[in-house]
């Protein structure tokens, strides 16, 4: 069927919309290059002073570091728990396990503000407010469903008979898990770990509630900068974040292409 006039018109519109989705963020680049001390567009002159400030400021650097530590720990913990859980659910595969799966996806769909409230409520008596442990635990609970989804997706195409075959050939449960199941779900685990990292790295709503002084993540500092709305350092931080996003995206695209090729072979 030949594409009609309407279809062509729609495709043009879709391209405009897609560019509308991506381009606004790019304004951070000129703003970060302004030579002035306040947020403004550069007027013919450019300066890197705000990047210099970003990378020499103790506050910003410690925020980068803290966010990195929290996101890596969250990613590791969520990947471990989520992968085990996905394999367990796949093995059990009953009416009850599907209920449990639906229940475990709730943290993903329940509004963040309610999650924030819940963690805040419980972290007060547990003494976890404003601590690494508190943030890592909260982010892990929010991120584990992502790992559950990606690993389950890898398992969906996995023939359970292979597991049976491995056991019949004398492999123990542990060996079967390590040598047969895990290699199969590796792409799901990597994707899940990456998603979990990004979720934690970018999380602000829950973080606003359960952190205060001693833990000050990067989104928290960005949030502050945005609210104060004066210091251009926040623009240079935004540029760094965009760069990190693009790199992470490229890495994941290459990985998934390699996996697709491996599966095709």
């Amino acid at each position: 069927m030949k594409p009609g006039l309407f279809s062509k018109f729609n495709t043009a519109g879709a391209w405009v919309l897609l560019l509308f989705l991506v381009t606004p963020a790019l304004i951070a680049i000129p703003v970060s290059l302004t030579p002035k001390r306040f947020l403004s567009m550069p007027n013919g002159e450019y300066s890197l002073r705000h990047f210099e400030k970003l990378f020499t400021s103790e506050e910003w650097l410690s925020s980068f570091f803290q966010s990195g530590v929290i996101a890596l720990s969250c990613s590791a913990l969520a990947t471990l728990l989520g992968t085990l859980c996905a394999i367990g659910l796949w093995r059990v595969s009953s009416k009850y396990s599907e209920l449990v799966r639906a229940f475990l996806l709730l943290p993903l769909i329940i509004p963040q503000i309610i999650s924030a409230m819940a963690f805040y409520r419980l972290w007060i008596p547990l003494g976890l407010l404003d601590s690494y442990a508190g943030l890592i635990l909260a982010h892990t609970i929010l991120a584990a469903p992502l790992v559950l989804i990606t690993v389950s997706a890898s398992l969906a195409s996995f023939d359970p008979k292979l597991e049976q075959a491995s056991k019949n050939l004398g492999a123990s449960n542990w060996t079967t898990l390590r040598r047969v199941i895990l290699p199969q779900v590796k792409p799901g685990i990597f994707a899940g770990a990456l998603f979990a990292f990004i979720l934690s790295w970018d999380e602000i709503v829950v973080t606003l509630f359960i952190s205060k002084y001693s833990v000050y993540t990067l989104p928290r500092r960005m949030w502050n900068g945005i609210r104060e709305n004066t210091d251009p350092t926040v623009a240079s931080a935004a540029v760094v974040l965009i760069a990190i996003t693009l790199i992470a995206f490229a890495v994941s695209a290459i990985l998934s292409r390699r996996n697709a090729r491996a599966q095709a072979e």
Partner: protein, 282 residues
């Protein structure tokens, strides 16, 4: 012990850690909040009664629902256009479109909010440009009003609308469309009477997903609304962190939660929830 393990599948052992963690550290406090909405500051339905009496609270709920409905309509319609173009594009073009969509999906919400702040302000790039080319004499007020909040929210939600629509459109058998054309229907007729109804599950999923996500949206309304447009999420945070009224906050959270669960239930009538979340169906 042996009798027990015989009846319980060993798979549950590795499900347990995450399950217990979520039950104790997540479900527990959420139930506690629901309980609080009936007990704080005093037992009874006082918090809920106040919602009916106090105009301010009711207005906030209404503002939230209205903004969410408008956001949902725009996001789903625009998302439909993108998904339609993607499904009908050539392979190379489609992969470029998907890249743009996913990149926008991945850009930090804070970066995007910051960008809107720079673009939409009185002296923002949009106003300056429009003034320079002489389209407007006075700067348009984009911020601290619902217009700004809507721009920011629709921008954030469009990718969430596209993904379920894309899944639904990709599963349509193109031959049905050809059959309709061969039987003499025009392109427009085919679209409205065949294509659109076939994408209903995707439309329902996209609509509810965007609506649910908009309901609890905090960052963009708080910044672009600039205190002038108060939505439930921001009101809850003020109740908790400033005025320390747990009961009121809990009541609003309970209502929001019930709304979300009700919508999930409706959604589950139209399609398997796990497919919406890209999960496993075996």
């Amino acid at each position: 012990m042996h009798a027990l393990t015989r009846h319980i599948h060993p798979g549950w052992l590795i499900i347990a850690p995450l399950f217990l963690l979520v039950v104790t550290l997540y479900l527990g406090p959420i139930l506690n909040i629901l309980w609080l909405s009936f007990t704080d500051p005093e037992p009874g339905l006082g918090n809920y009664a106040k919602l009916g009496q106090e105009g301010a609270q009711l207005r906030i709920v209404w503002t939230t629902v209205r903004i969410c409905i408008i956001t949902t309509i725009f996001s789903v319609v625009l998302g439909y256009s993108i998904a339609y173009a993607m499904v009908h594009a050539h392979r190379q073009q489609k992969s470029y479109m998907l890249t743009l969509l996913l990149v926008s999906f991945w850009i930090s919400i804070l970066v995007r909010t910051f960008a809107w702040l720079m673009l939409l302000g009185r002296k923002g790039l949009v106003n300056v440009t429009l003034e320079d080319i002489g389209l407007i004499a006075e700067p348009i007020t984009f911020m601290r009003n619902e217009l700004g909040v809507l721009i920011g929210m629709v921008h954030y939600m469009i990718p969430y609308a596209v993904l379920p629509l894309l899944v639904s459109m990709q599963s349509i058998d193109q031959r049905v469309m050809n059959a309709s054309r061969n039987l003499g229907a025009s392109g427009t007729q085919t679209f409205w009477r065949i294509y659109l109804p076939l994408t209903t599950p995707g439309l329902v999923a996209a609509t509810l997903l965007v609506f649910i996500l908009s309901l609890g949206f905090y960052v963009t309304p708080a910044v672009l609304g600039g205190g002038k447009v108060l939505m439930v999420a921001e009101y809850i945070s003020v109740q908790l962190l400033v005025t320390l009224k747990w009961g009121t906050a809990a009541m609003l959270a309970a209502i929001m939660l019930m709304g979300v669960l009700a919508m999930l239930w409706i959604m589950s009538r139209f399609m398997k929830l796990s497919t919406v979340f890209g999960g496993a169906t075996r």
